[in-house]
Amino acid sequence: MPPPTAPKSGDALFASVERVNAELFTLTYGAIVRQLLTDLEEVEEVNKQLDQMGYNIGTRLVDEFLAKSNVSRCADFKETADVIAKLGFKMFLGVTATVTNWDAEGTSCSFVLEDNPLVDFVELPDTCQGLQYCNVLSGVIRGALEMVSMKTEVTWVRDMLRGDDAYEMRVKLTKQVPEEYPYKDDD
């Protein structure tokens, strides 16, 4: 067994991954949202699809995150949330989130983003009321956490595209599935 490696810092982690110019990401996502609005017509359906896309992305990103970050098993949901905010957001988006507003049970908290590369150059027209533009991010969190046995509900509380002063997503841990060994074949 090689000696355990210390977890990387957020900055070191971001520096260690392949990076691309953020405009490509932001404009690509924007073009996808716009095309979905045209094709699906219902804003609710677009929100659902963005969340689904995020979920699928999250289930893959979590592997990359665990492989590159050297993070060891988190003791509880609180520690998990801190790791996501400080390292997860940083590794992929280059920004960090703040974890706040914990409930008494320690099962729900908020991620607050003041800087969000997903929305650079974005303005929502009045016809897009109800669009949850950043749903891909909440989907990613939900998908990634589900892969490490935590079922969550993630909702947006504040959205700068709607005039709020920051982005805030609420993450509620609904079920922590104990990991079973050995895995069943049909799982």
């Binding site: 110019n21 490509l24 690509t28 073009a31 896309m53 992305i57 280059g94 650079d120 891909v136």
Partner: protein, 175 residues
């Protein structure tokens, strides 16, 4: 250097967009899915060129504009230039990237992969992989067409991936 994000973010949204259009929305109508994916690329290319050409004089001819796509534009997107440019001097240009990033990085949709693995059928794996890849390539084709259209050049763009991981984009200028 401007702002950056992890490459996985771009790979993730592009792959999911392709999977959504080919699998969930237009599963039985691949030509419609292809048109939508191309349209999304078109918009991205159009907007990116808008930003990258802001402080630059107009291009004097088609070749100048194509060279801009091969050098500056490609470098912004993929951190490398197009490796080889050919033309018949009659409005057709072939842009070859010997190691096209999106073909080397992006993996096949895992659900497709696992179905095929269960069937243990290498032919169908090859087929579906090729299908996913060719759908994915409508996106960069759209980007190139969007970029050139913004530079005042109406054209069609197709991709040839017969020499993976090299990929050629064939630009035919409309006269």
């Amino acid at each position: 250097m401007g702002r950056e994000v992890a490459e996985s973010c771009v790979d993730g949204v592009v792959m999911e967009m392709v999977a959504a259009y080919c699998g969930r929305f237009y599963a039985s109508k691949p030509e419609l899915a292809a048109r939508r994916i191309e349209a999304i690329g078109f918009q991205v290319g159009h907007q990116l060129t808008e930003r990258y050409t802001m402080e630059r004089p107009r291009f004097s001819d088609h070749l100048e504009a194509i060279k801009f796509i091969c050098k500056d534009f490609w470098s912004e997107l993929f951190k490398k230039q197009i490796d080889n440019l050919k033309t018949n001097h009659r409005g057709t240009f072939v842009l070859q990237d010997n190691h096209f990033r999106w073909l080397t990085r992006v993996s096949i949709d895992p659900s497709v992969e696992s179905i095929d693995a269960n069937e243990n059928d290498s032919t169908s794996l090859g087929d579906s992989a090729a299908q996913t890849t060719s759908m994915l390539l409508y996106f960069p084709c759209g980007i190139i067409r969007g970029a050139l259209t913004n530079l005042g050049i109406a054209c069609s763009v197709t991709a040839d991936m017969s020499n993976l991981p090299a990929c050629s984009f064939v630009v035919r200028i409309k006269t």
